[in-house]
């Protein structure tokens, strides 16, 4: 491997890729191409994050900097039958990405009234205003090298546009599949949900082989007035993978956003979630569960920004770290001067399963208004000895008892998932992971 290189710029990292530099699209007045050009030009000004940066203090991504990655070559030939086992029973609409690239042939986006799904380049070409209005506007890249890099590649992304007052009952499944070794995939999604509409989105990352690669994903979402979105996020990448993801959500008047994010996979993962409660009576609940072991590192950073009065936010984030794993949670709640009568509650609970595991937690409240209800807290603990004995006295061996209690700790978050098959699949997966099934 390379020796430690200090102060590598992001540009240098990218130019160390086999295929060389990223080039901006040629002279184009197309909205998407202009966004890409701006991002490409901006990348040179950005640094590769290091633990000297406050937001990366606990998370050392040096191994990613030293990994030799390239842009994906031609997409791997897959057929739907290769993926059937990963499909969600309840889903009708399915959007499949392979190595960061949208695959219409593997997707199922059959016309449904009020639902438009297509590649970003096509949506921009046909001048869908919901797309040109929001694309690149919600996920900010000027201070975030990974978002900038993603933006440079976003022609491969997908837009999901829901008109006003549409209810999509079946969950929309967005599946990001990794198939190639040593590539950096930059999948991008834009979700625009019209006023009064209601959808459930399941965003899932997985790999067909246990190989090393990087996912650098960006999801932008705009919820118009009184829209309601359930957003489930399942990160179960290969244990060799690097996973960097940014989700940015803007929530309008009386709209409601519920997200449940589960992190199980990857060697190193970092998930940034930016929630903007942009108008009165906006609501969000942002729950998360990290379950890692061995040498895994999983970092979740959330920002909940109360901009206008009378908005509500709820957050429960749980981390379970076994082996020599390292979990990080940083949750910032910002209450702006205008955001009177904010109601914000945040709780972070952590479970350490071994002497070598570690968890860093940093709950933060920044309050600039005076009439608010805000609370936050964090706990770190181990499995309860009395509960272990209780289970053992009923015939379970110590390992099973530990695993059942570990599962129980995480189940509180899993139980929030409103899609039964996903909830069940995840329960099975975690019970299997904890070896009692």
């Amino acid at each position: 491997m390379n020796t430690l290189i200090k102060n590598v710029s992001f540009q240098e990292w990218i130019s160390s890729w086999n295929s060389g530099k990223i080039t901006a699209p040629e002279h184009s007045t197309n909205y998407l191409d202009q966004l890409r050009t701006n991002a490409v030009n901006h990348i040179a000004a950005l640094k590769f994050p290091s633990t000297r940066d406050e937001e990366w203090r606990f998370t050392d991504i040096t191994p990613l900097k030293h990994a030799a990655f390239k842009q994906p070559s031609a997409a791997t030939e897959l057929t739907a039958s290769d993926l059937t086992q990963y499909f969600i029973d309840e889903s009708v609409i399915r959007i499949v990405f392979v190595d960061g690239q949208y695959m219409p042939g593997l997707s199922s986006t059959a016309a449904q009234h009020g639902v438009t799904i297509d590649s970003l380049s096509k949506l921009v070409a046909t001048d869908i205003s919901a797309v040109t209005q929001h694309l690149g506007q919600i996920a900010e890249y000027h201070n975030n090298a990974f978002v900038a890099l993603n933006t440079a590649f976003m022609q491969e992304g997908v837009g999901i546009v829901i008109s006003e007052n549409i209810v999509v009952d079946a969950p929309i499944h967005v599946l990001f599949v990794a198939t190639q070794q040593e590539v950096t995939a930059c999948p991008r999604c834009l979700l625009v949900v019209g006023a009064g509409s209601r959808i459930t989105l399941v965003e899932e990352y997985l790999a067909l082989t246990d190989c090393a690669y990087t996912t650098n994903a960006v999801i932008e979402a705009q919820l118009a007035d009184s829209a309601n979105v359930n957003h489930i996020r399942l990160q179960r990448e290969s244990r060799e993978a690097f996973h960097i993801a940014n989700t940015s959500v803007q929530i309008a008047h009386a709209a409601s956003y519920q997200s449940i994010s589960i992190a199980l996979g990857a060697q190193i993962s970092r998930f940034d979630q930016h929630i903007s409660l942009a108008d009165q009576h906006a609501q969000c609940s942002i729950d998360g569960l990290t379950l890692i072991s061995d040498q895994q590192l999983a970092d979740t950073h959330t920002w909940i920004d109360h901009i206008k009065p009378q908005a509500t936010s709820r957050q429960l984030h749980k981390c379970i770290a076994d082996g020599s794993a390292h979990a990080v949670f940083s949750g910032k709640i910002i209450v702006r001067p205008d955001a009177q009568q904010t109601d914000a509650r945040q709780m972070n609970r952590n479970l350490l399963l071994s002497d070598k595991a570690s968890i860093d937690t940093k709950p933060q409240l920044e309050i600039f208004a005076d009439d608010v209800k805000c609370s936050h807290g964090a706990t770190i603990g181990q499995l309860d000895a009395d509960a272990l004995f209780y289970l053992q006295s009923r015939g379970l061996n110590l390992a099973s008892a530990r695993n059942l209690l570990t599962y129980a700790f995480g189940a509180e978050v899993i139980d929030f998932i409103p899609v039964d098959s996903v909830k069940q699949q995840l329960a099975d997966l975690i019970l299997a992971k904890t070896r009692i099934h």
Binding site: A385, L405, Y407
Partner: protein
């Protein structure tokens, strides 16, 4: 029921045990045969509950001397789950709440684990559901308790009924009921006692650890033992419980004619 030809199920000889560095049990002797019901009474701090936990193998209690033979086998080096599989059951004084684990899931896991160890048939979720509902009738338990988290938010009486339900499922040879009557109102006590009585047979045995005589009105013991300072200081028939109720423990305390704890 006392029968002369009944085989010995539990033999405890000169049992000594510590919690941290404090000796709690200081030479306890007890013999229990199949078909018998024993009550162990005594003041708080006499070592009753410690004895129950030591029998079950609680890791916080360290045995420092003596031996425990269960069904002829020395169980002192066995883990709690091995004792449970061998047929020993402890009904907890304070059953533990386990948020996030559904009661039916827990009960089925415990049942199947023990069945598997005993070389018996396991039940799938549907079969188990029928089976457990039948057992719940014994205790007038609402099937709604199956869907809730283990003991979470259960009242005192509901927790104790859930303990006896586990006893009914695991069919132990020896059940130790640690203060099962504490926190129960009279109706709950009757229901729990009725369940226990139905589970008692000529092949198994019961040890009731209790502070009060009340439980013994409903579950009739063959022997009553009084514990003090980590030892059994008197053993007699069920009438002893009534005397204790009427006169307290003082009159036995320091009694020079201490019983050995082994039945005649």
């Amino acid at each position: 029921m006392i029968r002369a030809d009944s085989s010995i199920l539990l033999e405890v000889h000169d049992l000594h045990a510590n919690v941290e560095d404090t000796e709690i049990l200081k030479g306890l002797n007890l013999t229990v045969k199949r078909g018998e019901i024993h009550a162990i009474m005594g003041l708080n701090g006499s070592g009753k509950s410690t004895f129950a936990k030591v029998l079950a193998g609680h890791p916080a209690y360290r045995m420092t001397g003596g031996e425990i033979l269960f069904n002829g086998m020395d169980i002192t080096s066995l883990a709690p789950e091995e004792r449970a599989r061998a047929g020993l059951f402890l009904a907890f004084q304070y059953p533990v709440e386990i948020p996030g684990v559904a009661n039916d899931q827990f009960l089925r896991l415990a049942y199947n684990t023990v069945q598997r160890q005993r070389g018996k048939e396991e039940l799938d979720p549907l079969e188990f559901d029928d089976f457990v509902r039948e057992k719940m009738k014994l205790l007038d338990m609402n099937p709604g308790f199956l869907d809730r988290s283990v003991n979470e938010g259960f009242s005192g009486g509901e927790k104790k009924r859930n303990e006896i339900l586990q006893m009914a499922l695991l069919e132990p040879m020896l059940a130790v009921l640690d203060e099962t009557d504490s926190g129960l109102d009279i109706d709950a006590l009757r229901i729990v006692a009725k369940g226990v009585n139905q589970l008692a047979s000529q092949d198994n045995a019961l040890i009731l650890v209790t502070h009060y005589q009340r439980l013994l009105d409903y579950i009739e013991p063959d022997y009553v033992h009084v514990m003090e300072a980590g030892r059994i200081i008197k053993t007699s028939g069920k009438e002893l419980a009534l005397e204790l109720e009427a006169h307290g423990y003082d009159w036995i305390s320091g009694d020079k004619t201490r019983a050995s704890g082994v039945q005649p």
